[in-house]
């Protein structure tokens, strides 16, 4: 598993004139956002054209304009559903982050216990966790709890594995230097291993947050009374395909928001490249 290295975090030379730098940033932002935006608009236009030309029935494939109409008409119920799902994603993701990081720290710090735990974590990762969703409903009810649990079992793994890689790829010579001045294992962990693992942890969190959204939707499929996943399931049984797509749009936007919040935090606080060992 490789960590994602964010090129944008590389610093520009300090002596560049501020005004020129702002202009450069504007150009960079433009050339960054323009291509994906153009592609997106192109796909939407083509979709609209296809559904109009072939007169596809709305319950098979609604046109983008039809989806937008539904988005507006049902905005209150969609907003509530999005709020419910966001809560599940948020709590599930936060718990995944804490548990994933905790598992990584335990494996890295307590080598013997880590050797026992690691294969079990890998084994557990290979259980099809979607199949556990009905069990969680049975155990934890129809509300927030079963979705959060499902998200955690799906999303903690990439956090744990990425952070573990970051904790373990420290320079052996640096560790030898630390030991030579009497550093304890905890000091080496706190001063070297944990800071070193942060860029890797962020890469794991980005994977985890997208899995968290999937986990929330699957959890709602298995049994829920609200949320975007519940709405998708409900609408599809009613052949309200436009509403299915409207809910999907909200799910996608939600996932993107969570993803870019993490990327923003990364860019703000992790402003160094991982040392390549």
């Amino acid at each position: 598993m490789t960590a994602i290295v964010n090129q944008e975090t590389a610093r520009a030379p300090a002596n560049v004139d501020a005004e020129a730098k702002r202009a450069t940033n504007r150009r960079a932002a433009w050339s960054r956002f323009m291509p994906p935006l153009a592609l997106f608009v192109g796909v939407v236009v083509a979709w609209e054209a296809v559904s109009r030309i072939f007169r596809l029935p709305e319950f098979v494939l609604p046109a983008p304009t039809a989806i937008v109409e539904v988005l507006i008409a049902h905005q209150a119920s969609l907003a509530y559903a999005a709020f419910v799902t966001s809560q599940e994603v948020l709590w599930g993701f936060l718990l995944s982050a804490v548990i994933g990081a905790g598992v990584a720290l335990v494996i890295a710090r307590f080598a013997a216990f880590g050797r026992a735990l690691y294969p079990l974590v890998v084994l557990f990762q290979n259980v099809p966790k979607v199949a556990l969703a009905p069990l969680f409903i049975l155990w934890f009810g129809f509300d927030l709890a079963p979705k959060v649990v499902l998200i955690v079992v799906i999303a903690f793994f990439p956090v744990a594995i990425n952070m573990l890689v970051g904790l373990q790829t420290v320079d052996a010579n640096l560790v030898a230097l630390m030991r030579s001045v009497g550093a304890s294992r905890n000091e080496i962990l706190m001063r070297i291993q944990i800071p070193n693992s942060l860029p890797y942890l962020m890469a794991g969190l980005k994977v985890a947050v997208t899995l968290a959204v999937i986990g929330a939707i699957v959890g709602e499929f298995a049994g829920a009374q609200a949320g975007l996943g519940y709405m998708i399931q409900f609408a599809s049984t009613q052949m309200q395909t436009s509403l299915v797509f409207a809910a999907l749009v909200e799910v996608s936007v939600l996932g993107m928001l969570f993803y870019y919040v993490i990327e923003w935090i990364e860019g703000r606080y992790i402003d160094w490249m991982p040392a390549v060992a």
Partner: protein, 301 residues
């Protein structure tokens, strides 16, 4: 200004009959065989030799990072591990091994903070600033490693090693990753540091010019098994500078080192040709080792 091995002063670093064996896939390989050397206090000694001659392994043994299979080592009258514990040994590696998230000053302060068991203090920061000034980087205190050149990073690494005021500086190919021009600059810089701080320095290098320019004595090593074939004194007066490269003594010294390295290499090739086809050389029988030592005319110090 040469220091004869038989001088009355107690050697600062002394190794006698050091052997190191590694076991790989059930076979024992002798990496270092019967190595002896001595370095006087304030001396500057290099270890030079081809890849695989065990020069870095020998440095690790002297620096207390690796226990020898056989033989005795003392640094400042104690074992290397004890010397490390007493912070008498500073180490510089080929890579600067700095923390990318800390600036130059904090990197220099790192080992001091750990050694003194506290996060930071004015005393530690003051000392770190002094060390940066010593290596000519006082202007770069706030810069992160990514903003420094390779040579500057290595200066920070040297400042970090000097910060705990060790008596001995062990350097493992410290300029090996730098370009030729920066290397020469760093050599001159290291001589200056050595003369100002009076540290005992052991330097591992694969550059003949670097070894001859810097050292009082160069231990020439050969591979298969790793051993010292000669401790060559460099009769070139200090202070040395760019003109020293043109001195006849320098030319004589580098010519001798070059010849020794070639001989050592030819021997090693001849020996590996006589080996069984499995590759690396197995542990020598006692009788064989004595015979082979006689054959190579190994120079003891």
């Amino acid at each position: 200004m040469t220091v004869s091995p038989g001088s009355a002063t107690q050697p600062h670093i002394l190794a006698r009959g050091v052997c190191v064996d590694f076991t790989l896939a059930g076979r024992v390989h002798r990496v270092l065989h019967d190595v002896s050397l001595s370095v006087p206090k304030g001396g500057f000694v290099s270890l030079i030799g081809p890849s695989g001659c065990g020069k870095s392994t020998l440095l690790k043994v002297l620096a207390g990072l690796l226990a020898p299979t056989a033989g005795d080592v003392s640094v400042a009258g104690v074992t290397p591990i004890e010397a490390v514990r007493q912070r008498r040994i500073g180490i510089v590696f080929q890579e600067a091994t700095l923390l990318p998230w800390k600036n130059a000053l904090d990197n220099v302060a790192l080992l001091m903070e750990v050694a003194h068991g506290r996060r930071s203090s004015d005393e530690i920061r003051g000392r770190a600033a002094d060390m940066l000034r010593l290596v000519g980087l006082e202007h770069a205190a706030e810069k992160r490693p990514a903003q420094l050149s390779g040579g500057m990073r290595q200066r920070v690494s040297i400042a970090r090693a000097l910060a705990l005021d060790p008596e001995v500086l062990m350097m493992d190919e410290p300029f090996g990753a730098l370009d030729a021009i920066t290397r020469e600059e760093m050599s001159a810089f290291l001589l200056e540091i050595w003369q100002r701080t009076k540290k005992t320095i052991v330097l591992v290098t694969h550059s003949i010019d670097e070894a001859a320019f810097l050292s009082r004595k160069v231990n020439v090593m050969a591979a298969n098994p790793g051993r010292i074939i000669e401790a060559t004194p460099i009769d070139l007066p200090y202070p040395r500078n760019e003109e020293s490269y043109a001195a006849p003594e320098f030319a004589r010294a580098t010519a001798r080192l070059r010849r020794l390295l070639k001989e050592g290499h030819r021997e090693a090739v001849a020996m590996s040709a006589a080996e069984p086809p499995q590759g690396a050389r197995p542990l020598l029988e006692e009788g064989e080792s004595t015979a082979q030592r006689a054959a190579t005319g190994e120079v003891s110090q």
